[in-house]
Amino acid sequence: MNGYIPLADWVETAVDYILIHCKGFFDVLKAIIWFAWFNVEEVLAFIPWWALVVLLALVAWRYAGRNVAILTFLGLLFLQGLGVWDGMVRTLSLVITAVVFCIVLGIPLGIWAARSDLVHAIVRPVLDFMQTMPSFVYLIPALMLFGLGPVPALISIVIFAMPPLVRLTDLGIRQVSPSLLEAARAFGSTPNQILTKVQLPLALPTIMTGVNQAIMLALSMSVIASMIGAGGLGDEVLYGITRVQVGRGFVGGISIVIVAVVLDRMTQGIRQRWREKEV
C-alpha cells in the first residue's frame, strides 16, 4: 500500500470528520433503526415456536398455495429440530426490518427515478457503485459510525439489498407502454392518477421481483454482517469458520438455505398471483 494517491488517508479523514460533526444525526438514526428492529425481534420472539410455524405455513397457504405451505411447515420444523430456532428468529427479524426499510426508501426512490431523467441519471451510477462494491467493504464504515451490533448490520444489509428494488421499480414503471400513458393522458388523468392507476399497477409484478431480490440479498448479507455483531444464523457459520467446526458451519449453512427457499417461494407465489390476474 505505497501508492501515490493517498485515497485511504482521505477516506479516513472524511469518516473522522463525519464522526465528530454528525454524531447527533447518527445517534438519532441509530435509535430509529434500533427501535424498528427491536420491536420486530420482540414480536417474533414472543410467539411460541410452534405457533410461528403454523402461522407462517398459513400465510404461505393463503398467498402461495399448498405446496409452499407444506414446504414452509416442514422446513421450519427441521430448523427447530436442529436447535437453531433463536438464530432463525434473529435472522428473520433482521431480514424483515431491512426489507421494510428497503421498501420504504427504495420504491419511492425508484418512482422518482422513473419520472425524472435527471434523478435516473444520478441514481443509476450510485446503484452500480453500491452493487459492485464488495459487500465486506460496507462493514467498515458501518462499524465505525455505529459500532457493533444489529444497527450497523442493518445499515449494511439495507445498502446491499436496496439497489435491485430501486432499479426494478424504475424499470417496471418505465416499461409501461407509452401508448397506455397517452391514453391515460387523453382522458384527462393528472400525473398522480397516471402513476397510481396505470403505472404502478402495471409495474407491480416487476416491483415484486425487486422485493423478492431484496429479501434474498438481505438474507445473504445478514450472514456476512454477523462479523459486525448481527447475530443469528450467520453466527453459526462464523463459528464454524473461525473454530474450524465443519459440522456447525454446515448446520448454519443448511439453515440459511431453508430460510432462503421458504422466503423465496412465498414471495414468488405472491408475485405469481398478480401476474395471473392480468393474463
Partner: protein
C-alpha cells in the same frame, strides 16, 4: 350542421430542439427538406387550416408520415402545437392551462386508439369507466354508466373479462365505450380500425355509422385507407408532407381532384361504390300533378321530348309515373285525369344510394329511377345515360 365545432388555423408542428428557427424559415417559404438540411428540425405539420362542423365525420387521410396523426394529437394537445390556434367551441385550447386542458379532455373530447391502448390490468368495465374514475365519479354511478355504454357497443355480459380475453374487434369496442362514457361532443379516432380483419372492420364501420346516426357526435377520423375514408367521411382532408392537398366530400375528391397527387391517390377507386345517386341525378324537369288530364301530359311530353313523366302531389311527393302510351290510351278513352293509367310501382332511390346498387335496378326496369328524400319528395331522376356518363367521365380522366 354548418357551425364549426373545431377550427384549426395555421397549425404548425415542428419536431426538434429549436422549432423557432425552423418556424421562421417555414414562414419565409422554405420547403420541408431545405429546413431539415439547414436546421435539423422536422416539419411535421406545415401551416394547416381547416374546420370541422358539428355532427360531421371529418376524415384526415394520408400515407404514413403525412402528419395526420400528429394533427389529431394536436387537437387535444397530446402533442403541443408549435404555432397556430385550435378553437373548440370557439375556445382556443392552445392557450388554456393544464388544469383547463384536463377538463376539456375529460368532458369534451374522447379518443380511440389504433392499437386499442386498453389497460391490461383492468376489466372491461373498469376500462370503460376510466374516464369517469379520473373525474372522481362515485363507483356505483360510474359503473352503471359504463355498463350502459358497453351495452350500446354490444358488449353486455363481458364486463368482468380482461381485455386480453377479447378479440381485436371486441377490444376496440371497449376502446369506443371508454371514449363514449363521458358523453363527449367530439370523438378523435386514430386509425381506430386499421388493426382489424377486413370483415370485422367493415362491421365496425357500419356500427360506427349507426352509432353516429343516434348520437350525432363530431368525429375526426384518421386513416390511411382511402376506402375507409370514402365510406365514413362526410368530408375528407387529404394530406401530404404535413400539408392539406384537398378538402371536400368524397365525391368532390373523386370527381374533381385538386391536383396531380390527389388524382393519383384516388385513381384506383371503384367509382361505382362511391358515386351516389345524388351525384349523377338530373333535374326531374316538368312533373305532372295527379289532377292533370292526359292531354296536358301528352303535350308536356311532346314539348320536352320525353317518353314518360313523374306525377307528384301538392307537397311534391312522388305519386307515380305516366308513360306516353298510357297517356295516349287515357286520352282515347276520354278519361278526365291520369289516376287510371298511373304506374305506382316504380323504382326509387335515395340521394345517398351508391351507383353499384343502382346498376341492377336500372338494368331491370324500363322506367327512369326517381330519387326521393326521406319524406318521399321528388329530388331528381337517374336515367341509364346519366349513370354511364358518370362512370365514363371518371374513366376518361384515368385514361388521359
Amino acid at each position: 350542421m354548418s357551425t364549426a365545432k373545431i377550427e384549426v388555423k395555421n397549425l404548425v408542428k415542428i419536431f426538434g430542439d429549436h422549432p423557432q428557427k425552423a418556424l421562421a424559415l417555414l414562414k419565409d417559404g422554405y420547403s420541408k427538406e431545405e429546413i431539415f438540411s439547414q436546421t435539423r428540425q422536422t416539419v411535421a405539420i406545415a401551416d394547416v387550416s381547416f374546420e370541422v362542423r358539428a355532427g360531421e365525420i371529418f376524415v384526415l387521410m394520408g400515407l404514413s408520415g403525412s402528419g395526420k396523426s400528429t394533427i389529431l394529437r394536436c387537437l387535444n394537445r397530446l402533442i403541443e402545437p408549435t404555432s397556430g390556434s385550435i378553437l373548440i367551441d370557439e375556445e382556443d385550447i392552445t392557450r388554456i392551462s393544464e388544469q383547463q386542458l384536463r377538463e376539456v379532455r375529460r368532458k369534451k373530447v374522447g379518443m380511440v386508439f389504433q392499437q386499442f391502448a386498453l389497460f391490461p390490468h383492468r376489466t372491461v368495465l373498469e376500462n370503460a369507466a376510466y374516464g369517469l374514475e379520473v373525474q372522481g365519479v362515485p363507483k356505483n354511478d360510474r359503473e352503471e354508466r359504463a355498463k350502459a355504454t358497453l351495452e350500446t357497443v354490444g358488449l353486455q355480459g363481458w364486463e368482468h373479462a380482461y381485455p386480453s380475453q377479447l378479440s381485436g374487434g371486441m377490444q376496440q369496442r371497449v376502446g369506443l365505450a371508454r371514449a363514449l362514457v363521458c358523453d363527449p361532443d367530439i370523438l378523435l379516432m386514430d386509425e381506430a380500425f386499421s388493426g382489424l380483419d377486413p370483415l370485422i372492420r367493415r362491421e365496425m364501420h357500419d356500427e360506427l355509422l349507426a352509432l353516429q346516426d343516434r348520437m350525432n357526435k363530431t368525429i375526426v377520423f384518421v386513416t390511411h385507407d382511402l376506402d375507409e375514408a370514402l365510406k365514413l367521411g362526410d368530408r375528407i382532408a387529404l394530406l401530404k408532407d404535413g400539408a392539406i392537398q384537398q378538402i371536400g366530400t368524397p365525391e368532390e375528391i373523386l370527381m374533381n381532384p385538386a391536383n396531380e397527387y390527389v388524382a393519383r391517390f384516388v385513381e384506383d377507386v371503384d367509382v361505382s361504390k362511391v358515386l351516389t345517386a345524388e351525384g349523377i341525378m338530373k333535374e326531374p324537369g316538368h312533373v305532372l300533378s295527379h289532377k292533370d288530364g292526359p292531354h296536358v301530359a301528352l303535350r308536356l311530353m311532346r314539348e320536352n321530348g320525353r317518353s314518360s313523366l313523374f306525377v307528384v302531389d301538392r307537397g311534391r311527393r312522388l305519386v307515380g309515373l305516366v308513360t306516353a302510351d298510357a297517356a295516349f290510351e287515357a286520352a282515347e278513352r276520354g278519361q278526365p285525369d291520369l289516376t287510371g293509367v298511373l304506374v305506382r310501382d316504380i323504382p326509387t332511390a335515395r340521394p345517398d344510394t351508391c351507383i353499384v346498387e343502382l346498376i341492377p335496378v336500372l338494368a331491370e326496369t324500363k322506367y327512369p329511377v326517381a330519387v326521393t328524400d326521406d319524406n318521399g319528395r321528388l329530388l331528381g331522376v337517374v336515367v341509364r345515360g346519366a349513370l354511364l356518363a358518370g362512370l365514363a367521365k371518371k374513366g376518361e380522366e384515368k385514361a388521359s
